[in-house]
């Protein structure tokens, strides 16, 4: 492992490097930067909704642009790159290869992210992260909308390049003595999520081009006035982005598979069950995309098919939860910061999954659809599961990256505040949805229950904001001034057995 900040180098040496840990560091810093930018938008949105009426955001168009960029940023510029950061650091080491299979392609995949992010932020489009047609075709103001489309196009290509690299690294470059079954679960998670990207993403790439030509007026794929069908876009979009949900969540589960056994000081309960669950999720994830579309006027048969397809994905997720709990059972658990984040993430993953079963049941979906329930539901995944797993993992890799330890007590304060905040925001939003509040609204009528629950959610969001500020301070301070880490055993868990990834890769 390269000790990036321990042995300072000029920044351009890291920027123009193709070594996997350098690219990993670039991914990590970029993704965390976008996490704080996107999070700041979320705080502004929550502050606006604290009272009915206009608070801090001048008009609804600005508000609409903010939630659009918030969603786009955190999915494409935080979650995906942060997973790539972890993958870059750990996958080559776990399969015992000197680097990623294609180092230059790796650097190219990273360097497509800043221009993609710049297009999204400078454009600041307003048509939601779903780019809903025909609104996005006939009504959304340019050039913001077109910049968003080009930005997503670039980020999509970057994802595909990264996915090819992970698949080849794991399948073709793993050590000849290592069978595919022996590949650690974190690397397995990257293999399965990369394969999903390769199958799913081209569909959305096509849909984006169709959207662009529709906007230019030379085609009418999604424009009913020209004989098109906006529901076709919904199918193309969700065919990519329901599997993409698993692309986002699977690496976070993989990170938990690294953290839970280490801090429980027991081997994973069942390696093969973890592998099986990843593979099943990667396949079954493709059978559920239209559960996002019950309310578009689908027939009873279609709805039934996609409900069954959705429920079919649940046992595999449940297998992961079982595996985690069975590993912790009887283990000598040390609740260091990474472990706290991983365990919190599992609890929220379970809650999110349970809520998902409710959504997928056809009659109940008509209660929850496009209400705040849905906002709470998917945020329990993206924040509660994915961000929790990722943040835990950033704490976990902190000594390996910087050679120093973070401040443990502040790490725990960060976790407790974020956990309380997450429960306050997103569980409350579930209930708010049951009371009928639609999502994506700038203002709401002063219904007492809505006001109360919005205020609880906003206070929770502010707690998360404070916790993230503590984290940022902790990371910046500790990477320069923190206590030197004991690199043989930074978390004091004892036993070399638990650190297979400590083999050092040569620097180019």
């Amino acid at each position: 492992m390269v000790l990036e900040l321990h042995k300072p180098r000029p920044v351009w040496q890291i920027m123009f490097s193709t070594h996997h840990t350098d690219v990993g560091l670039l991914y990590l810093i970029t993704s965390l930067g976008f996490l704080f930018l996107g999070g700041a938008l979320a705080l502004a949105i929550r502050a606006e909704l604290f009272f009915p009426g206009s608070q801090i955001i001048a008009d609804s168009m600005t508000f609409n642009r903010m939630f659009t960029v918030h969603g786009t940023t955190l999915i494409f510029l935080f979650i995906l790159p942060s997973a790539s950061a972890v993958g870059n650091y750990f996958v080559p080491i776990m399969v015992r290869y000197k680097d990623m299979a294609y180092p230059k392609l790796n650097a190219i995949a990273f360097w497509m992210i800043p221009p993609g992010g710049a297009l999204i932020w400078l454009g600041f489009a307003d048509f939601t992260w779903y780019a809903t047609p025909p609104y996005s075709v006939i009504s959304a103001p340019g050039p913001a909308a077109d910049m968003w489309i080009f930005g997503l196009k670039i980020l999509g290509v970057s994802s595909i390049l990264g996915a090819i690299n992970f698949v080849v690294t794991i399948l073709k470059c793993k050590h000849p003595d290592m069978s595919i079954g022996q590949v650690p679960l974190l690397a397995w998670s990257f293999l399965s999520s990369s394969l999903i990207i390769l199958v799913a993403l081209p569909t959305f790439a096509a849909a984006l081009l169709m959207l662009l030509t529709d906007r230019l007026g030379v085609s009418g794929f999604f424009n009913p006035v020209l004989g098109g069908d906006p529901i076709a876009y919904a199918h193309l979009f969700w065919f990519t982005f329901h599997p993409e949900v698993y692309v986002l969540v699977i690496p976070a589960i993989g990170m938990m598979y690294e953290i839970i056994p280490r801090f429980s000081r027991r081997p994973i309960f069942s390696h093969s069950s973890g592998v099986a669950a990843f593979v099943i999720l990667a396949i079954v994830g493709f059978s559920s995309w239209a559960h996002h579309m019950y309310a578009t006027g689908m027939s009873f048969t279609e709805k039934t098919v996609f409900m069954v397809g959705t429920l079919a994905a649940v046992p595999a997720s449940a297998m992961h939860v079982f595996n985690f709990l069975a590993t912790m059972w009887g283990g000598r658990i040390r609740f260091s910061t990474p472990m706290m984040w991983a365990v919190g993430g599992i609890a929220l993953f379970f809650s999110a999954g349970a809520g998902g079963v409710v959504n997928s049941a056809m009659p109940l979906d008509f209660v929850t659809h496009d209400s705040y329930w849905v906002v709470g539901h998917f945020h329990l995944f993206v924040m509660g599961t994915i961000a929790f797993g990722t943040i835990g993992y950033v704490y976990y890799m902190f000594p390996y990256v910087t050679g120093r330890m973070y401040h443990e007590a502040l790490g725990k304060v960060h976790f407790v505040l974020a956990m309380v905040g997450t429960v306050m925001v997103f569980f409350t939003q579930h209930v708010l949805g049951l009371f009928g509040m639609p999502r994506r609204i700038y203002d709401y009528p002063p219904i007492p229950e809505w006001v109360a629950m919005n205020q609880i959610a906003t206070i929770g969001a502010m707690l998360i904001g404070i916790s993230m500020a503590i984290w940022l301070g902790n990371m910046i301070y500790s990477s320069g001034r923190g206590r030197e880490a004991n690199m043989e055993d930074p978390f004091g868990l004892g036993g070399k057995y638990y650190y297979p990834h400590q083999q050092k890769n040569p620097v180019h």
Partner: protein
């Protein structure tokens, strides 16, 4: 690894699968009943456009932004849109269906209690989406 038994995991998976089968079967059955439109349902044509709702009764009466219905009758909404996608929603009666331009979607309900209910748009449709609201007045038949 390998020395422990796997039966707890199989039991657990069995319980999860059984629960899912139950949820799926219940949902299928309820949805089948809910979607069965009574034959004597009156048709109301609903048109969504940026950013208000228009209603047309069977007798040709039109209403904008508000809708007057009677208890004890069943109503069938034929929902469409003239511009972008909206979503017609009477939350208190779990009436929710997208208004899609170029399509007519059908949903029905039978109001049981007289009162005033909110109608809202539940699909993002632009600038004033947040205020694309209407009012449903349910009255007892005179």
């Amino acid at each position: 690894m390998g020395e422990h038994s796997n039966w707890p995991e199989w039991v657990y998976i069995g319980v999860v699968v059984a629960l899912l089968c139950w949820v799926g079967a219940e949902a299928w059955n309820v949805e089948r009943l809910v979607e069965h439109v009574p034959e004597d349902a009156e048709t109301i044509k609903v048109v969504g456009q940026q950013w208000f709702w228009t209603f047309e009764h069977e007798d040709g009466t039109k209403e904008i932004g508000e809708l007057h219905l009677e208890t004890g009758k069943a109503y069938r909404f034929e929902i469409t849109s003239t511009d972008v996608i909206h979503s017609f929603n009477i939350h208190d009666y779990v009436v929710l269906l997208d208004a899609v331009p170029g399509r007519v979607n059908t949903v029905w309900f039978a109001p049981t209690e007289a009162g005033v209910y909110d109608i809202q748009c539940r699909e993002y449709c632009g600038l004033i989406h947040y205020n694309m609201r209407g009012t449903l007045y349910v009255e007892d038949p005179t």
